[in-house]
C-alpha cells in the first residue's frame, strides 16, 4: 500500500533509506540483469540458456533446500509451540539458546560439523573407541545428508523464531473459548492454532528456503565439493575456481534463482492472504 509522507515529516527523511537501497540493492540488481543479458557481442539470451545445461544442479539445489525446509518446519513447530506455552523465564532462556550459536561465525559453525562428521571426526573416533580400531567408521560427510544437516542446523532458528512469535500472539482466551464450545485438542490445534500460525510458518519457510537454495559454503564444506549446488556454480563463474571466469553466465544463473525465489515467495504469501495477523513479517 502506498503511504503518503507523515505529517510534519518530509521526503528528506527518506534520503538515507533511498540512498542505501539505490547503492546496495538497485544498482547491484541492475548490474546482474545487465550482465545476464549481455555477452561479447552485446545483447543475448544465450546466458539464460545455460540454466538448461545445469538443470540437474538446479534441481539438486531445489531438492536439498526443500528437504531442509521441510525438516526445519517439522523440528521447529513443536519447539516453537512448546516455547510459546512455557513460563516467561523458560521462554527467555529458550530464545537465548536458540540465538546463541548465531553469535559464532557461520563458517566456524559449519567447520565444526566437519570435525564432528568426518571419517576421523568426533563420532567415528568415539565409535572406534567402542568397537575397536578395526571398525570401518560411518560415512557421515561428503554426501547429501551432510549438506541437509548443515542447512537445517544453520537455518533452524529462522524457522523457530517467526513461528514462535506467531504462536505467542495467539491469545490463550481463544483456546479457552474453543474448548468451552466443545472443541477437543486436535480440533483446537487444527482450527485455531495452526491457521493462526500460518503467517509465522510462511515467514519461516521463506527465511529457510532462500538461504538454503543459494548456499555454496555448506555444500563446499560438508558436501566435499562433489555435489555442486547452484550457489557453488555461480561462485565458480565469478571467481573462476574451475578456471573459467564468466560474469555473464554467473549473473544469468543468479537471475534465474532470484526469479525462482520471487515466484515462490509470491506464491507463499498468497496462502497468507486470509490470515490477516502477520506473524514474523513476510519478506515480500
Amino acid at each position: 500500500m502506498r503511504k503518503s509522507v507523515a505529517p510534519g515529516g518530509s521526503r528528506a527523511n527518506l534520503i538515507p533509506y533511498s540512498g542505501w537501497m539505490t547503492l546496495f540493492v538497485l544498482i547491484p540488481i541492475g548490474l546482474v540483469v545487465y550482465y545476464a543479458f549481455t555477452g561479447v557481442n552485446g545483447f543475448t539470451l544465450s546466458n539464460i540458456g545455460w540454466i538448461w545445461t545445469y538443470r540437474k544442479t538446479l534441481w539438486l539445489s531445489v531438492e536439498l533446500a526443500l528437504i531442509a525446509t521441510v525438516l526445519c518446519l517439522l523440528l521447529a513447530y513443536p519447539i516453537a509451540y512448546g516455547m510459546s506455552r512455557a513460563s516467561a523465564k523458560v521462554q527467555r532462556n529458550a530464545t537465548l539458546f536458540i540465538m546463541l550459536p548465531m553469535w559464532m561465525n557461520f563458517l566456524v559453525r559449519t567447520y565444526a560439523w566437519m570435525t564432528i562428521l568426518e571419517d576421523t571426526g568426533l563420532i567415528n573416533s568415539a565409535l572406534r573407541a567402542i568397537f575397536g580400531e578395526d571398525f570401518s567408521g560411518l560415512r557421515l560427510i561428503n554426501n547429501h545428508g551432510a549438506i541437509v544437516l548443515g542447512m537445517v542446523y544453520n537455518f533452524l532458528p529462522y524457522m523457530i523464531l517467526p513461528i514462535y512469535t506467531a504462536l505467542t500472539k495467539i491469545s490463550y482466551s481463544l483456546v479457552e473459548a474453543s474448548r468451552d464450545l466443545g472443541a477437543n485438542g486436535a480440533q483446537i490445534f487444527g482450527r485455531i492454532i495452526l491457521p493462526m500460525s500460518v503467517p509465522g510458518i510462511i515467514s519461516g519457510i521463506t527465511m529457510v528456503f532462500i538461504p538454503s537454495i543459494s548456499t555454496f559454503i555448506i555444500s563446499k564444506i560438508l558436501g566435499g565439493g562433489k555435489d555442486f549446488l547452484i550457489g557453488d556454480l555461480i561462485e565458480d563463474y565469478f571467481l573462476g575456481n574451475s578456471g573459467v571466469v564468466n560474469y555473464n553466465i554467473g549473473a544469468a544463473l543468479s537471475l534465474v534463482i532470484m526469479v525462482l525465489i520471487l515466484v515462490a515467495t509470491f506464491f507463499m504469501n498468497h496462502f497468507d492472504k486470509d490470515a490477516k495477523t502477520s506473524g514474523g513479517g513476510s519478506l515480500v
Binding site: E176, D180, A183, R191, I192, A275
Partner: protein
C-alpha cells in the same frame, strides 16, 4: 431448597499460592434466573464463575449440576458456556464461522448449522453480518457475536464475565437491556459477574454480593438495596450514610444525638448497631422542624437533584434534594421510620466513614481501576 435448582455450590474453597480466594462458599442457583455476582475486584466473583464453568477445580467442596457432582468434569462436558472478559472471537474466521464453530466441532449437519446460525444472528440483531471479519466489527457487535456463538450450542447456563466492561456507557446500557431480553426469551440461566452495582441492580433477578471471598448477601435487587445486611453491602450498593447507633428497644433507635422511630426489631436492648440512611430518604426541612440540624458544606448539581453534604455534629452526611441550598446554610433534616435501616455490627462496621473524603472524581477513578484490575480477579 427448591426443586428447580440447577447449580448447587457446596462448601467451595479456592486458594492461590496459599492465599484464600474463596472461603467455604455455599450457593444454589435456580433454573432460568438471572443471577449476578457483584463485588469489588479481588472479591472472588470471577473465581466462583470459573469454578462453575469448570475452568478451575476448587480445593474443597462440590459443584453440583442438576443433582450430579461435576467436580473434575471439563468445561465442554458441562452444559455451561462462558462469555469471556475480552472478546475471544476467532480472528481467522468470519462471523458465520465463529458462530458455527461449536456446531461444527459437534459435526452437526450443514443445513442444521446454517439454520441455527441464522437464528442466532437474528437473536442478537446482526442479520446480514455473516461474512464480516471480527476486526471489522465495533466492540458492541463483537460482543453480540460472542453471545450468539455461546448460545448457538444450546447451553443450559450461560456464564458472563464482565462482558460489557469494554463498552462505553451508552452502549453498555443498551446491551444490558438486550441481554436481559435475550435471557428472558430463551429462558436459560444467566450467571453474570460485574463490579458495576447499577448493572447488577438493573438486570438481575438475584444479586450475590461478594467481598473477600465470602458471600455478603444474597437477595433481589430491592432487598439488597433496601435491606443491606452489613456496612459493606450498604456502602457498595448505592450511596449510604452509615452511622453508629444504639437500639434503645424494638422500633426505637438513637443516633446522632436524637432518638428515632424505626421499623426494625429483634436486637438486644441498648445493642450497638450500624444505621443506614439513604441520601434520597432524608427530607430537608426548616431548622425548627428538623430532627437533626446541620450546616451545608458542599452542594453539587446532579441533574435530577442536588447532592448536598451536611455536617451534623462533625459527621458529614450526604443527602439528595430537589431544593437548592447554599453552602453555609443551616438546615433541618427529617427521617421517616421506613427510611431507617438497622444492621447488626459486623467486621465492616466503622470501615466506611462519612462523606468528608468523598469526591466525584475519586469515585470514578476507583471505578476505572476496578475495571483494569479485573484481570487479577482470577
Amino acid at each position: 431448597m427448591e426443586n428447580n435448582v440447577i447449580i448447587d455450590l457446596k462448601n467451595i474453597s479456592v486458594s492461590f499460592d496459599g492465599e484464600r480466594i474463596i472461603e467455604n462458599l455455599n450457593l444454589y442457583i435456580r433454573d432460568g434466573e438471572f443471577i449476578t455476582f457483584l463485588g469489588p475486584s479481588g472479591c472472588g466473583k470471577t473465581t466462583t464463575l470459573r469454578v462453575i464453568g469448570g475452568f478451575l477445580e476448587p480445593d474443597g467442596g462440590d459443584v453440583i449440576f442438576e443433582g450430579k457432582k461435576m467436580n473434575g468434569v471439563p468445561p465442554h462436558k458441562r452444559q455451561v458456556n462462558t462469555i469471556f472478559q475480552r472478546y475471544a472471537l476467532f480472528p481467522n474466521m468470519n462471523v458465520y464461522e465463529n458462530i458455527a464453530f461449536g456446531l461444527k466441532v459437534k459435526k452437526l449437519p450443514k443445513a442444521e448449522i446454517e439454520k441455527k446460525v441464522k437464528e442466532m444472528l437474528a437473536l442478537v440483531n446482526l442479520k446480514g453480518f455473516e461474512a464480516r471479519m471480527p476486526e471489522s466489527l465495533s466492540g458492541g457487535q463483537q460482543q453480540r457475536v460472542v453471545i450468539a456463538r455461546a448460545l448457538a450450542v444450546d447451553p443450559k447456563v450461560l456464564l458472563l464475565d464482565e462482558p460489557l466492561g469494554a463498552l462505553d456507557l451508552k452502549l453498555r446500557k443498551d446491551m444490558q437491556v438486550e441481554l436481559k431480553k435475550i435471557q428472558k426469551s430463551l429462558g436459560i440461566t444467566f450467571i453474570y459477574v460485574t463490579h458495576d452495582q447499577e448493572e447488577a441492580l438493573s438486570m438481575s433477578d438475584t444479586i450475590v454480593v461478594m467481598d473477600a471471598g465470602k458471600i455478603q448477601q444474597i437477595g433481589s435487587p430491592t432487598d439488597i438495596y433496601n435491606e443491606p445486611k452489613n456496612a459493606f453491602v450498604a456502602d457498595f450498593i448505592g450511596e449510604s450514610n452509615i452511622v453508629d447507633g444504639v437500639m434503645c428497644r424494638d422500633k426505637v433507635v438513637s443516633f446522632s444525638g436524637h432518638t428515632f422511630a424505626c421499623l426494625d426489631g429483634g436486637f438486644a436492648e441498648n445493642e450497638a448497631v450500624d444505621v443506614v440512611v439513604r441520601p434520597e430518604d432524608v427530607d430537608v426541612v426548616s431548622v425548627e422542624k428538623g430532627m437533626l440540624t446541620g450546616t451545608v458544606t458542599n452542594v453539587t448539581f446532579k441533574g435530577v437533584h442536588y447532592e448536598i453534604i451536611v455536617d451534623i455534629g462533625g459527621f458529614l452526611w450526604m443527602i439528595q434534594s430537589t431544593d437548592i441550598r447554599q453552602v453555609g446554610d443551616v438546615i433541618g433534616l427529617q427521617i421517616e421510620p421506613d427510611a431507617i435501616h438497622i444492621m447488626k455490627k459486623s467486621e465492616y462496621s466503622g470501615m466506611f466513614g462519612d462523606f468528608s473524603s468523598f469526591s466525584e472524581e475519586f469515585d470514578e477513578l476507583s471505578d476505572v481501576n476496578a475495571g483494569v484490575e479485573v484481570e487479577d480477579d482470577a
